[in-house]
Amino acid sequence: MVSVAFINPLSDEGKSLVRELGAFEGVRSDNNELIHIVTESRSQEISDDAFIPRSYLDLAVKRIEWYAKKKNDRKFDNNQYEFLFNPEIYKFDLIAYFLLCQAVGVKSGPNSRESRVLVESQGKIIEYRLGKLVKSERNEIVNNILNSLLSSSTHKWTFFEDLISSKKLKLQDMILDKGEIILDRDDFLDRFSSKIKGRKPEKMYEALIGDRVKELVMIKMVMQNTEDYIQKVSEKSDREIEPNPILLELADKISEVLVSSVQSYGFGGGSRGGSIKASALNPKAFPPCVKKVMEGMKSGGRNDAIIMFLTPFVSYARLYPSVFSENITKQISDIDPALSVVQNEVLPLIFGAAERCTPPLFEDQPQDKVNLNAKLGFGMHENVELKYEGETTWYTPMSCEKIKLHLPSLCKPDEHCKKIGNPLSYYNRMVWIIRKESKKSASNEKASKNEE
């Protein structure tokens, strides 16, 4: 059977192996045993030296690179990374995993993009590794790990609070009964067999819970534990004076991998075609929810729709459309130093929509202008002025999920909405599509003129 540490590096087995093997000396040096395992891995592409990690540090970077490329590179070739799924690599992989967590914890912190990517990559790696095992071995190892992660056979759903909060698990996907999440087959049959009519309870268990949900819970728990470990490292490093330079070097390399994938493949923001530049707004590219608010709202949802929803959307779409892919906090004056775009383009658009509400928003509630300015980062003041900037935060646009909660009547999705999770991503995507189509029609026109 494969090592438990190969699937769950934070298991007792994993931790004791790390204690045995872990030392910073030699993590940069070529390791012949590692190179041998890599080159002997089944289906491994070895035509280029760059495909072969030669040290622990290389292996750590390859782990992240695999995930970033797999997610975004259309020419991605998994054969270049087959070694990651070879169980023989588990000892090296374990050290690489701990190096990554520590590097991200020390340098980037738990709320960084690096941390998010590392946690997500760990989840995907486990999925792929389990996928390569035969069913019996796969079930055995999942049950083993799950038993060690869950101390008893029944669990209150609140035990998974962190997983639910971080949306790793959806409450709706679990089977709940009297406050407990049902995972065990016998428990399921005891509780529900008598209620199920015309279907086989055993088969229903396999479909609704079975190995699928158990695996899901196990993977998400390992991901959550990875996140918690990064958090712990980060807290500890705040108290220590000097982090190990190797960790800082690795953290820089991780950031480089992510930056290069942004540049090459548009990683992270759901955007396409590289970075998105601030430019004049194109109302044709607005998502249905924004179009609806622009037409004016009736009393009730007016306030939230204009202040909480439209103001952040319009300001970011006009000034900083790449906020989610860049993931860097900015103030409006970083982009619009004289605030002329805000005054001449952003505010008139918002005031226009407010005017079209019934009754007009600011006529009815003039004090809300102050709230609007606050959402742009200019504190609770009557006017947008540089001296007030920073008193409040420039609110980022609400996600689709938040809109469904706060303003459910606004969400009337069209076919493009399925591919995005935030109206701003919709806008960026549509701007890109419109631009592409107009380029295409321009070149067609040119070609037909040439033919004439």
Partner: protein
């Protein structure tokens, strides 16, 4: 029973009469008075919203004196428990709350402008469903229902959930209201099996089935459902008797499987408005103080002892309203 047209705004004199003669500190539920020092109170003195906030009371007696002297237009207290409620600082936990406002229910059979007996009763039915799920699925038990004056507040004080963040609360809301149609195809090793939500008598599929049933039985020919045209709506109304007797399979056959999918998806997106989710995810919300007067509609904000039989027009009308008609 009092007629709704008598429930006009209370005059300052009536407010005074209510707090001096009818209101009693013992009407404030224990779940508030026992934690009075940890809660923030807010008041609306003139009917323009709760502007007088960050108030704290060390004892129920001090709250009593305040209300008797100031006789506010409206009184509120926080769902949150703080170390320093005067500054809303040191947040420790917050009740898990659900606000069902009769006028905002997405499917109402009355079509009235504000609220009426019919939609208030529909709000009550929704609350009953929510409580069943809170108990049966989520295993919660410390649940209080408050009639707010225009609907209901469900306030949960189980310690297990009072510390959870907004993201968990939003998932709970979605679960309770049936905001997403459950999957209906599942992969087994060598086959795919299909289980519609209505054949699964437990968990979220059961909750969803109950919410869809409620909505279908309350639809009328003017209801707008996303992606459901007039013809489909007409067919749903024609065959909905089958749902009353839980003959879901037959109903689905009559409607057609693709069109059935459209109907349940349409209802799912409407369900999100069954409760005001903003209230549930707000960890520092202030809610109307149980026992206080809702001056706009001249009704008492009252703790409901038995939601199955509660009638606001009998149990939440202050004495001064009866005197108006003499």
């Amino acid at each position: 029973m009092v007629k709704i047209e008598y429930l006009t705004p209370a005059t300052p004199k009536e407010r005074k009469q209510y707090y001096k003669e009818e209101w009693n500190i013992k009407q404030v539920p224990d779940f508030v008075t026992h934690s009075i020092q940890e809660r923030e109170f807010g008041f609306d003195h003139v009917g323009r919203g709760p502007n007088d906030r960050y108030k704290v009371f060390k004892t129920p007696d001090l709250l009593k004196r305040f209300l008797k002297v100031r006789t506010p237009f409206a009184a509120y207290c926080s769902v949150a428990f703080y170390d320093k409620p005067r500054r809303r600082d040191g947040w420790n936990k917050a009740e898990l709350v659900f606000d069902v406002d009769a006028k905002d229910i997405p499917i109402r059979t009355c079509n009235c402008e504000g609220v009426c007996e019919i939609c208030l009763n529909e709000a009550r039915e929704i609350v009953c469903g929510i409580i069943d799920t809170l108990k049966g699925d989520l295993g919660l038990s410390n649940i209080h229902v408050i009639y707010s004056g225009r609907g209901y507040h469900v306030r949960v004080l189980d310690n297990d959930v009072m510390g959870v963040d907004s993201d968990v609360r939003s998932q709970i809301v979605k679960y309770l209201v049936g905001a997403d149609a459950p999957e209906n195809e599942y992969s087994l090793d060598f086959e795919k099996v299909s289980y519609e939500h209505f054949v699964i008598p437990f968990g979220y599929p059961k909750v969803f089935t109950e919410r869809v049933k409620y909505s279908i039985l309350h639809l009328n020919d003017k209801t707008e459902l996303e992606d459901v045209n007039k013809k489909l709506l007409k067919d749903v109304l024609k065959y909905r008797e089958l749902i009353k007797t839980n003959e879901w399979g037959l109903f689905k056959n009559k409607i057609g499987p693709q069109r059935y999918k459209k109907v349940v998806n349409g209802i799912a997106s409407l369900n999100m408005s069954l409760v005001d989710a903003k209230v549930s995810i707000d960890l520092k919300r202030i809610l109307r103080l149980p026992s206080s007067l809702h001056s706009m509609v001249s009704m008492k904000c009252t703790e409901v002892k038995n939601i199955e039989t509660f009638d606001p027009f009998k149990e939440a009308v202050p004495k001064f309203v009866y005197e108006r008609n003499k």
